[in-house]
Symmetry: C2
């Protein structure tokens, strides 16, 4: 069975303006790879309602699984939940179980559950909540869309809450070697190896450090013995 194909939607003005460098995409990519889920596409859009809804509609139709990050806090620019409801054509309102989670959290921390915070209990109809052990306000799952917070600690905690319920394939294994030769010198033998080991994925990632041109050649596959065999051949081919 092929691995499930996943997409991520990052809702993040702060990434598009260059203010923040992405962390959640990098984290999710690593977790999915370990678990045998292929992260096949990522989109980053701003907190614009039309852009978010269009991306959600496209990704939820094209992929087995979608993860969103960002836009579920209490401020005016947090519109992800409403956009998910619109993309699925379902109503959205404050839900009692989500409100109870928030009420308990703010009572414990001595803060007021005001109107702004209550926005975080707005959950589209039919969704399941995702636990947030860091700051209480839940994420949710609707259909194949998993809606999570943008703050990295909270995002990571939500991913941990959700991962055990996701069906992955065989974990993708990878090994790499560093070749201190220009990519143009290794391209032809590398293509020959890629053709020979057609069940594996061969990537070449060039580097240029201290005047040395070279490439990290990465072999990925689900069968460890095959990856080992390819690495042995790579080492023979490029050690001369």
């Amino acid at each position: 069975m092929p691995n499930p194909r996943a997409a991520m939607l990052v809702i993040g003005n702060e990434i598009l303006s260059g203010r923040t460098r992405d962390a959640n995409m990098h984290f999710l990519a690593g977790e999915f790879t370990k678990r045998g889920i292929d992260l096949a596409e990522v989109r980053v859009v701003s907190d614009n309602r039309a852009a978010i809804v269009a991306a959600l509609r496209s990704l939820k139709a094209d992929f087995d699984l979608v993860v969103t990050s960002g836009g579920i806090g209490p401020t005016h620019d947090d519109i992800t939940a409403d956009c998910v409801a619109e993309a699925f054509g379902v109503p959205i309102d404050v839900r009692d179980d989500a409100r109870a989670i928030l009420a308990a959290h703010y009572e414990r921390t001595g803060k007021e559950l005001n109107e702004a915070r209550l926005r975080m209990a707005r959950i589209p109809e039919g969704a399941h909540l995702i636990e947030n052990p860091v700051s209480a306000a839940p994420g949710f799952i609707l259909g194949n869309v998993h809606v999570m917070a943008g703050v990295p600690q909270v995002f990571q905690a939500m991913v941990a809450s959700v991962l055990p319920g996701l069906t992955g394939g065989a974990p993708l294994l990878s090994q790499s070697i560093r070749v201190e030769r220009g990519e143009g010198d290794i391209a032809q033998p590398l293509r020959a190896l890629a053709d020979e080991f057609s069940d594996l994925d061969f990537g070449s990632y060039p580097f240029h450090e201290n005047g040395i041109y070279g490439a990290h050649v990465v072999v990925r596959g689900t069968d460890g013995a095959r990856v080992d065999a390819a690495m042995t051949r790579l080492a023979e081919t490029f050690s001369a």
Copy 2:
């Protein structure tokens, strides 16, 4: 006149597998913001021909300007130029001026311009070359699509080659304050300020550090006096 709206397409298995953390998106976002170009969407796709062509067709139609990064080297997984040709419906072949650039570079560096390296001279018909002062192999511009290398040093050099030719709007200015209060406490006054200064963009980016919950509130706009006025009001509102 509104600022031009740009999109970026990152062709990067290594980012989707979690092997590499993105750098080019972050760099381009900062450069565009300084120059008054709105980076409105980023997509990351793997080096899959159908995925690249579909993303190119969608982005070049929806945005004023598209920048791609990655997939223009000499190895078998470098298929960006062919995908751009397909997306525009134009032929692609080795072009004399690009071949001459490569030939001069490899003669200077004592390397062979072999078949693999010659792939980097494949340029879609009608494209203009983008200078690559780092490693010679050029990028190109076809229509509104700017095709650049994925290696960060080369990507940055190509962006520098291209930026002077791009028409930007007024640079987007931003200022921010750090508020050590939960977002839920600042959401209502912040919404009121955002409504009052409707010509500016107000973002709230929560943080949680050493047990302190707070938010960086960022004000963005093209009119410095208005941004200053909003910051004064923000400071008054949240200094109590």
